[in-house]
């Protein structure tokens, strides 16, 4: 306790003690008969300099660490001075460490923000997310139907309240700007209370907004309000039109994680006629609702999961018709926070591992450089040891140097981390919306400092200290470099480690790049460059059926009259951008399913006349749809090549009939196949044979997507296309114009980013490893000047020496690669225990990575090799 405060009380105590001393001394002298005044003067004189005594006391009181810190500060001053003489080395070390520390700090910030930080929602650890999935039919998120939600609500006690959320696209008019499609959430009155969210303006939706009789009400999300509306405080009370209905803006939601969907507005049920319809309310398989729950007081997540699972099993048993055995439906219950983070978890952990690998490479490279330097100064250390510096003092010298280096590295690394965090967060946002909230904070500093200190301590223990018993005298006199087998082995070990880890990163990056290249170069079956796709959803006025078809015909007719337009058509899906309908079972005339086999399934698409010629899909047989196909004429379809081949391998598919047993398209009716087109896969970026059935838009009614084929620059047509559509219908949204090429590029963006980020890491690793190999060889060459001199003197050709040194570099790389392959496979084996899917790079990326590393090692060894071959014989022989 007393050590805590070594200041004032002690000084006062000492002063008392000194005063007592003098008083005793005076008293003694007076007793001996001296004059009081003289006694006093004598006593003071005898005591001597009080201030000096006090000063020397301070040294005694000082805690031990203070002395050590002072000594270290002294050492650091010396370290700075001595590092100034080796600027190149110091800069290399600092930059290398900064890269390692910066990458780690940045990734750690994002991991912390996305995976660990709590949500803003009230009592967010009581908030759960419930999901129904059908692994048997590849449906990861089936969502719920209203009857299912009601059944769960009535059977479960561990959940205090449920909140429901479904996503709807509205054509929105109001709040300024053009009519456009917005993504909206439609929620019941309990949603916001269950989620534990508050308004920043106005109010949120409550139970009084439920039901068909309530007024239309909408809440704006914070992001929409703060960006599109510039945080306009007068927005509350304004009226907006959503499709056929209207709604009043009642409030603005606080900033929160947009889950399950990033919407602009969240409205009550009455705004969506669909939500009040019989299909929505009574059809058990009409699933479009996401379900949240708040745990009842005292209930644990496990208890809720058990109860929900049991209730769900009972519901499935009670309604076998709604749950096919094949789907193998399941219920998943998770804490909302974990649910939101889960898609990003794997990618972030992989990134964290990659960053850690970069740090290991950086550290071992720095260790190499420091080791080489310490060998060069063995003479100096030996002199200091001989002069009586203990092991502790020598270590402290080394520690001071590595602290200076690592400290500088950490500072630079943390500075580097700032832009890196922004980059990594933007990247991770594709996997978890929470990444958008990630900010650089103090944790970056802690991580940076922690890594730097770890590195500094390790580095201080790398060099060998001169033992007092060793024959240090040899090098002592000359101060020259003596390389021992032990040091050499260690240097090579570090270099090999770097190569091994770099190999793992390079092979991983190579795999991602290879995947990306495959995807980008894959043929799609479409004319990618000249086709412009638009979203042209149902007009806000809610026209459907024949009128819509007329609108499409008029629109495409006028568009095709525009200069520069080669063709125009409509369809239900923009390839890759739209999710598409579910695949449906169908029955085919002349095809009998084997016993026990289900009817075949196919994708259903709706397309307008001339669709295939506009998109450049080849017509293989029969005809395209034309304006003559009408709702009143014969029902017809066009099928894809794989459909025709699979179902009619030996016969002509044309003119056969198919039925959809599902009543989705109205009463099941035979439809005649009038054409066969080439296979296109509008869902996967890498094409798979897709059984697809196309219907003419005239016989279904709604398409929603517009395609225009341009002769020249497609984007130059956008204003004209918009103008033509608005001339026909002023309220018609027509938006998101993009060529098919760009649509696909946007879909590929995550892959490109993956490849980019990992290539970045691999590039850094490669750079560091090259520096490492070059450093080791440069050191080894300079230490063997004499050996090379002798070789040259006895007749070795310089080119022979050159080849010899380069081959040493290549050998280091080869051993590193072998270690990398072995270690990489071992890591993959461990990783399979934790992750469902672990990809091991194929032969091509592996061979590529190996070639790059060997090449890099050879290039890195060229400079030292050239130096070895140019050794001046006479000087070399005299050098020691």
């Amino acid at each position: 306790m007393r050590r805590r405060n070594p200041g004032l009380p002690r000084i006062n105590d000492l002063d008392d003690e000194i005063r007592a001393h003098i008083a005793l001394s005076v008293k003694e002298r007076i007793e001996r008969g001296e004059d009081p005044e003289a006694a006093r003067r004598a006593a003071l004189k005898e005591f001597g300099n009080v201030a000096l005594t006090r000063d020397s006391m301070r040294a005694v009181w000082r805690p031990r660490w203070f002395d050590m810190a002072e000594a270290l500060a002294h050492d650091i001053r010396i370290a700075m001075r001595s590092l100034r003489h080796v600027k190149g080395l110091a800069i290399t070390v600092v930059v290398t460490l900064a890269l390692g520390i910066g990458a780690n700090a940045a990734i750690f910030s994002v991991v912390r923000g996305v995976l660990l930080r709590p949500l803003v929602n009230r009592d967010e650890d009581r908030l759960i997310y419930i999901r129904q999935s059908g692994p048997g039919i590849g449906s990861e998120n089936m969502t719920f139907s209203v009857p299912e939600v009601n059944d769960l609500k009535s059977r479960v006690r561990t959940i205090a309240a449920f909140g429901d959320f479904s996503t709807v696209d509205f054509a929105m008019v109001g709040l300024g700007g053009e009519p456009r499609m917005v993504k909206a959430g439609v929620v019941g009155g309990s949603f916001f209370d269950v989620m534990g969210l508050r308004p920043v303006l106005g109010r949120l939706l409550t139970a009084r907004d439920d039901g068909a009789e309530a007024e239309g009400a909408a809440v704006l999300t914070y992001r929409f309000w703060s960006t599109a509306l510039n945080s306009d405080p007068s927005v509350v009370g304004k009226t907006i039109r959503l499709g056929e209905r209207s709604a009043t803006v009642v409030g603005v939601l606080e900033p929160s994680v947009p889950y399950p969907a990033d919407t602009e507005i969240i409205a009550n049920v009455v705004t969506s006629p669909h939500h009040l319809g019989a299909t929505m309310v009574t059809n058990r398989t009409h699933r479009m609702t996401e379900l949240f729950g708040r745990l009842a007081p005292g209930a644990s997540l496990d208890a809720a999961r058990a109860e929900l699972t049991a209730a769900y099993a009972a519901i499935v048993r009670a309604h076998p018709e709604a749950y096919s055995a094949k789907a193998n439906v399941q219920l998943k219950v998770a804490r909302l926070r974990d649910q939101i983070a889960s898609p990003a978890r794997t990618i972030l952990l992989v990134l964290l591992a990659a960053a850690a690998v970069v740090f290991v490479i950086a550290s071992s490279n720095v260790a190499n450089l420091i080791l080489a330097r310490s060998v060069r100064r063995e003479g100096e250390l030996a002199v200091r040891a001989a002069l009586g510096a203990g092991h502790g003092a020598l270590r402290r010298t080394l520690l001071a140097e590595s602290l200076v280096l690592c400290g500088a590295g950490a500072v630079l690394g943390v500075l580097l981390a700032r832009p890196l965090v922004a980059m990594v967060a933007a990247y991770a946002a594709r996997f978890s919306v929470r990444a958008l909230e990630v900010r650089v904070d103090g944790s970056v500093l802690w991580v940076g400092a922690g890594l730097a200190i770890a590195a500094a301590v390790l580095l201080a223990y790398v060099p060998r200290l001169p033992s007092p018993n060793a024959p240090a005298g040899l090098g002592l006199a000359s101060g020259s470099v003596r390389i021992t087998p032990g040091t050499n082995r260690r240097l090579r070990l570090f270099a090999t480690t770097q190569i091994a880890f770099s190999f793992v990163l390079l092979a991983g990056a190579g795999m991602l790049v290879a995947t990306l290249v495959t995807m980008q170069t894959a043929s799609t079956g479409y004319d990618m460059r000249h086709v412009l796709a638009f979203d042209m959803p149902a007009p806000a006025t809610g026209v459907g059926g024949a009128k819509t078809v007329d609108f499409y015909r008029e629109a495409t007719r006028r568009l095709e009259a525009l200069p520069g337009v080669e063709g125009a058509s409509v369809a239900s899906n923009v390839p890759w951008r739209d999710p598409g309908f579910v695949t449906m079972q169908f029955v085919v005339e002349g095809y009998r399913a084997a016993d026990g086999e289900e009817n075949p399934r196919a994708r259903m698409r709706i397309v307008g006349p001339r669709f295939f010629s506009v998109l450049g899909v080849p017509l293989l047989a029969g005809r395209e749809f034309t304006d003559e196909d009408r709702s009143s004429s014969e029902l017809v379809v066009i099928v894809s090549r794989s459909f025709a081949q699979r179902l009619f391998p030996n016969a002509e598919a044309l003119n056969r009939h198919i039925w959809w047993p599902d009543s989705y398209l109205g009463k099941p009716a035979p439809r005649r196949i009038v054409g066969i087109v080439g296979d296109v896969d509008d869902q996967h970026v890498v094409q798979e044979p897709a059984m697809t059935v196309y219907h003419p838009v005239q016989q279904i009614g709604l398409a929603g997507r517009l395609f225009v084929r341009a002769a020249g620059d497609p984007y130059a047509l956008v204003p004209a296309v918009t103008r033509v559509i608005r001339e026909i219908s002023a309220d018609q949204p027509v938006e998101r114009a993009a060529t098919l090429e760009d649509v696909r590029a946007a879909v590929l963006a995550p892959e490109r980013l993956n490849a980019f980020v990992f290539s970045g890491f691999a590039g850094i690793a490669l750079l560091i490893a090259v520096v490492g190999v070059a450093g080791v060889l440069a050191f080894s060459v300079s230490a063997r000047t004499r050996e090379f001199g002798i070789r040259l003197a006895v007749g070795s050709a310089p080119s022979h020496l050159l080849a010899r040194v380069v081959s040493e570099g290549v050998v280091i790389a080869a051993i590193g690669i072998a270690a990398g392959v072995t270690g990489g496979y071992a890591l993959a084996a461990i990783a399979t225990k934790f992750f469902a899917r672990v990809e091991v790079p194929g032969a091509v990326p592996m061979a590529g990575a190996a070639a790059v590393l060997i090449g890099a090692a050879a290039i890195a060894s060229l400079t030292p090799a050239a130096r070895a071959s140019r050794v001046d014989v006479m000087q070399a022989l005299r050098s020691e």
Binding site: D13, A20, G48, V60
Partner: protein
């Protein structure tokens, strides 16, 4: 400071002050001034401890746990800080005493070699 006594005064050997303090306190608690006087009188005025060395030494020994201090009233009715030997201090004293006598013997042998052989 009387000049006459200064002439025959001896410099304390490095490291012996601690031992002398511990030894002095073996007779019982004493204040700083008393310790200084005791060393002086017992050495027959040959040794004199400067206060600038005495007090740092006392505090150092206390910090190491060999001494304990407390304020008390002296026999001369004067408030003073008394130092007392702890059991750790006693052990340290006997260690230092051993080391000291070994040193004295060793140096004695070199300075006054025995006439013949070893015991």
């Amino acid at each position: 400071m009387a000049k006459t006594s200064d002439d025959r005064r001896l410099e304390l050997l490095q490291g012996t002050l601690d031992m002398l303090i511990l030894r002095t306190l073996q007779w019982g608690p004493q204040h700083g001034h008393g310790i200084g006087q005791a060393i002086r009188t017992q050495s027959d005025d040959l040794l004199k401890v400067e206060t600038g060395s005495l007090y740092p030494a006392l505090h150092r020994l206390e910090k190491r746990g060999w001494l304990k201090s407390e304020w008390a009233i002296s026999e001369a009715n004067q408030r003073a800080k008394y130092y007392r030997l702890t059991s750790a201090g006693k052990a340290q004293l006997s260690r230092e005493q051993d080391r000291w006598s070994q040193l004295v013997t060793a140096i004695g042998r070199i300075m006054n070699p025995a006439p013949a052989g070893k015991e």
